[in-house]
Amino acid sequence: MSWMTDLGPMRDVVISSRVRLARNIKGYPFPVIMDRETAREAMEKVHGGIVSGNSSLSKDLKFMPMYELDDLERNILVERHLVSPDLIQRADYTGILIDDREEICIMLNEEDHIRLQCILPGNQVAKAWDTIDKVDDVVEENVEYSYHESLGYITSCPTNVGTGMRASVMMHLPALVYGGHINGILQTISKIGLTARGLYGEGSEALGNIFQVSNQVTLGPSEEEIVDNLEIVIKQIADKEKLTRKAIYEANKIELEDNVYRSLGVLKYARRLTAKEFMALLSQVRLGVSMGIIEDITLTDIDKLMVAGQSANLKSYAKQHDKSEEDLDIIRAEIVDHLI
């Protein structure tokens, strides 16, 4: 999976970039009120169009209806951030088209008929938009989209009409959290049409200091404006994070190194790790790797481990579905040993 294995630009702060476009087929009721037959017909329309098309996409994309996967396989797709929890809850109606490298994933009959996504490693929002723009052109050759002259692309939820675009990045911001700057930054970006939230964990708590920054507004600005706007902000947040990392290191060299190495020690040798502790330790180790304190582990190792340590992936690793949270804590500690 490319966003986990390839490095990409600015990987020390930006883990991955994603652009999603929401599209609907003209004349079909939206998934919220669709019956099963119509849902499968709509899926076949998109799938058939791509397969019969002349583009390279027809060879690259594999069709996977959700009803053909078991529960565990579906949950793994969610934890790898390829599909949404909503998609697998309605498995009888939904499916995906996905490429080998898992860079392009098209969700069918999620909230909208078609949700095209491109996920790339590091900070590559513009490239992700460019890629998915072309995929969109190919899909459109065979499927007529629902489009309105002033509202743009029509979506099931009014928060997506217009471009139907959500561009987002996953950022690791331990120094900004530690320095107490994070809330100020989150509040500021909400004033310019962007939004940020903790990626793991519930409510205001961001496990592992991982944040997702994305555009909020979809009607008004063009796709390019949305991408430019987001890129400027990402760059500023990343610069501030790096400066703060450096400042913390210079002010408390021993303390930071002590923290990083202790975290690595616990992560490696603990026999039980809760999800929360695992993410906290991993964040410290990631900081250590990105600052060159730890040299024999790579950033992609860490990010791979982050996904592997989530519950469904652990169950799959253990080849058992009925593990309790407590059992998973033990397997989580084991898997660290295998991966780093």
Partner: protein, 173 residues
């Protein structure tokens, strides 16, 4: 501290309730807490919750007050159904509920007009019109920043395109 319910796992969910000045404390592990109906910290707050709040604020009281519900004639979804799920049932719902939806769109989106990508099926004339709109916006900006040379260039370009559009329209008619 061990979970009060199962007495096996350690308690990580701590709930303190005050009812009529009476304080009660509950300490549970995650798994037992998930099974309790009075603890709903595991349910995420969604964009839908926010949206339904906005819908209530924006809807004219005449619609709700008289108990008459608007219905989309294409898909049969009613406005009150939409309010509950936060999603419309089909493309025509935007027309059917436009009186209620338009002010909400303005509030949550900021803009009211799409300026981005256009499906290639939309046809030559439409694209041309969009192009002209875009240039007009650029012209306004140029005038505002007193970039008059740029403004003159844009004005000429707009004239050219308008001529082209007129020709295309005549041909079409």
């Amino acid at each position: 501290m061990l979970c009060q319910q199962c007495n096996k796992r350690s308690a990580t969910v701590h709930l303190t309730k005050y009812i009529n000045g009476q304080k009660t404390e509950v300490h549970l592990c995650q798994e037992c807490a998930r099974q309790r109906s009075d603890i709903n910290i595991f349910a995420p707050f969604t964009i839908n919750d926010l949206l339904s709040g906005l819908l209530d604020m924006a809807a004219p009281s005449t619609v709700i007050g008289k108990g008459k519900d608007i219905k989309c004639s294409t898909c049969g979804m009613t406005y009150s159904q939409f309010k509950k799920v936060g999603r419309v049932g089909c493309e025509d719902c935007y027309k059917s509920f436009s009186r209620e939806l338009d002010p909400i769109l303005k509030r949550i989106q900021g803009g009211t007009h799409h300026t981005g990508k256009v499906p290639s099926r939309m046809g030559f004339n439409y694209r041309l019109r969009r192009n002209i709109d875009q240039l007009k916006r650029e012209l306004n900006k140029a005038v505002e920043t007193e970039a008059f040379e740029e403004a003159a260039r844009l004005r000429d370009e707009i004239r050219e395109l308008e001529k082209e559009l007129k020709k295309a329209n005549e041909k079409g008619a």
